[in-house]
Symmetry: C2
Subunit: 197 residues, 2 copies
Amino acid sequence: MRRTQEERRQESESRLLAAAVKLIAEKGANGFTLAEVGHEAGYSRSLPGHYFETKEALLARVVEHITQQSLAAIVDPDVEPGIESMRARWTRSLSAEGHDSYRTRALYALFLGAMFDSELAKIMARYNRATVARLAESLREAIDRGEIRADADVEAEAQALLLFRRGSALIHFTDPDLDLVSILDKHMTEVRDRLKP
Amino acid sequence: MRRTQEERRQESESRLLAAAVKLIAEKGANGFTLAEVGHEAGYSRSLPGHYFETKEALLARVVEHITQQSLAAIVDPDVEPGIESMRARWTRSLSAEGHDSYRTRALYALFLGAMFDSELAKIMARYNRATVARLAESLREAIDRGEIRADADVEAEAQALLLFRRGSALIHFTDPDLDLVSILDKHMTEVRDRLKP
């Protein structure tokens, strides 16, 4: 069965994005060119320019792509709102980081790359704010279910949880032997105890 | 009064280190050469090679230099141990970051570089562990003074505080408009309340 032009276009874009995630994870946001993304994906060196025009636009698209994948994991009907579910997901992702998770490595390379690129900083700030909004929503659902006390400051709690998660990953990439899973676990227990009704 | 050779050597090294901190803060750990450090410091392009031999050795020396400066701030007789003092220092440094603190920017640029450089990762892991040890010592002193309950798990608390601090800085560099000072402040109040005797 012949694929439509739109299907081929989507597959090419998807392969180019996967190649970009791999290059960012291996070399940082500033360590490669658009042409290398084409080469890495097995296409011509000029194709990424046709799809994304500039490297800035490619990086923005990569962040959007990572965001969609994270959201897809969260809207999974098996994922419960609240702190216990967050603990399970974060423990799982911390265990995987440093092994083979190009996506998470790329994400932190983008955060750090944002230090030297104000346009990228705007993109990453939006990503952080979207993540806080998602965490706050999960905490609000947990209040509705009676798992968290109703007067909890969900925005502030969500923001603090994000800081903790970002710090864990940053340290994990420099010191993968440290037992961050148990530190994260202990912290989540404290937050849960503090917020219980 | 003539300076001794040792004094001249120390001044040159100190100027080279300051130049390296500025270049790391502006361009990242991988964005410059040893020769550029000499040029930035107003010396010959070959001088850094005489002092540090390799760029790896220079980066290690920069981390040591940053560590000494942080330690100097803490052994200041006016600095009290415990959480209130930590809160005041962190609030101060978070307020300054992103404005003119080359030292803090350089530190986070080195964490970024560590994602792509296993030797630098070892150096940064040592720096993180030294910082946790220092935080734990401060908490132990606070126990001795009766400000924190004696059964607090100081190592785990110190590690969790570091994660929170690293996450604050990482987010601050991408989103300087976010009011992290009040988030940090709220967090420190929670930790203090939880640890009080």
